[in-house]
Subunit: 337 residues, 2 copies
Amino acid sequence: LTVHDIGELGLLQRIAAYCPPGALLDDAAEMAIPADQTLIVTTDVLVDGVHFSIGQANPACVTTPPWCVGWRATAANLSDLAAMGASPAGVTIALGLPGETPVDWIEGLYAGVKACLDQFGGQISGGDLTRSPVLTVSITALGQASPQRILRRKAAQPGHALVITGPHGLSRAGLELLLSPEQGQDLPAQQRQRLIQAHQQPRPRFDAIATLHALCSDPPLPMAGMDSSDGLANAVLQICRASGVGARVLRSHLPIPDGLAGWLEAEQAMDWMLYGGEDFELVLSLPDFLARALVEALGPGAAIIGYITASPEVLLVDETGQRPTITLDLQQGFQHF
Amino acid sequence: LTVHDIGELGLLQRIAAYCPPGALLDDAAEMAIPADQTLIVTTDVLVDGVHFSIGQANPACVTTPPWCVGWRATAANLSDLAAMGASPAGVTIALGLPGETPVDWIEGLYAGVKACLDQFGGQISGGDLTRSPVLTVSITALGQASPQRILRRKAAQPGHALVITGPHGLSRAGLELLLSPEQGQDLPAQQRQRLIQAHQQPRPRFDAIATLHALCSDPPLPMAGMDSSDGLANAVLQICRASGVGARVLRSHLPIPDGLAGWLEAEQAMDWMLYGGEDFELVLSLPDFLARALVEALGPGAAIIGYITASPEVLLVDETGQRPTITLDLQQGFQHF
């Protein structure tokens, strides 16, 4: 059964099952934002053949069944909200669809979106359906934040500690295992599954934001942050660039996660940790005492990976002297074109 | 110069010229919504080859230079806000781009978006850039409305008058003149230009909403509305379906606009008026006295086109008896698939 078979009205009826009552009835959606909160908005486009693959003949489709496309697209947007210190209110979903798109695939997508929202908060508040030669999923997420709690990139200060809320490189490793199942044969099944889940079902770190808020004094201290969706190195570089500072990231503070250590050379693992992307952890620049308290509260995976410096270089430093110091720059990171 | 030549960072620098300072600096955008207002959200996707054409070799590209694509996409979203009784706050723009997209084209698009926002309100508050085999423009518009002033489709009542805020069929006629310039040769140049402008540069009717609010008593009366983006017939049908009512639309109250009367048969003109779409006027169901006051205040083009009935059919009636009564239904309207 395809989109062409049931038409726009038929498709809208099926989509309505994933939305709150009345969500699709009007030209636009209504959303209540509490009076003392600032609206936070973020948007992402995912394209068939670039970010996922619907083609049954394409082996890459196994990496992204429709439920996972929906979950990941939603989680990526919610992660941007978390990175601003916000909580989720709702999403809109705009689809560009070839007529031959299976209805099953679209229902799977909406089920994944709804599952992610049910877990982390928010509803499907509206959207758009249109014809397109390429399946395109465009999600806009709306959230709310207390104005004095909004996290921005530009507030990093020399002496701040750089915190990651969890391990990096897992999503990239999970993708590799999905594309080349013959790899990592020595990994325990549980670890394989954990890596694949890191890729297919990432989790926005609203819990880390809640922990941070619980640890913070009022009025809030200067702090900066973003998520590591485009890679850990990219996040550190963006924060430093926006704040006019640099950083020293210490190799000894970036332990290779178990799932990677078991089958990768150390430099390959470090490459995926720094540049793999899509781990959707938070990278935070915090006063040292707060960084320590947050890392302890979050537990394994969270770490202080280095410090903010007044000089503008972002350096990867081996304190043992075995490896040379490397200057990180944005050109090495993921570029979309 | 293409997107591939300047890369994502280069493109972001150019886009920044159309955005307020700092708009692209963080993971998500901040937007202030006044404490007593409800957030209103709407989203649209436009696809190359479906809604516009970037190909220089394609004659259809004349219908949609990039500035007009930006204006129209923005106006379409703002019109959805107007249809809810809201005022604009901002938009996000997510682009899916082939690497060979000319940078000029994208700058033209943003200039069109910004021109429309400068005229009607709101800013470009954020977005996303990603690679895609097909150029795709996804716009989400955010607005605000007083909770007691929100216009919905479901509140039409038998006895209400059906109001249009302006003429219909002009956009469809303008498209025809762009695609087939040999048509309508007898039309005065000024009328040709008016039809083409109706297609390329539609105007969201925030002015009609402001006039309606100025005429309304407080507490507000029951009223319903939507915009006519998918055609006048579709708007009447959607309002009636949502409200559980029907309507009698009177041919004598639907005068053929001058620009159409000059070169089209009456039935062809009526078809474009009812089904042409993209006129972006408002279709309102209002108490009769309020409808009369609004039409008088708005002036030429605005009209009472019929009345809401308790029986659920939506009929096009010729009171002179020359033409048979026609039952309108949604299947005749524009279907995207």
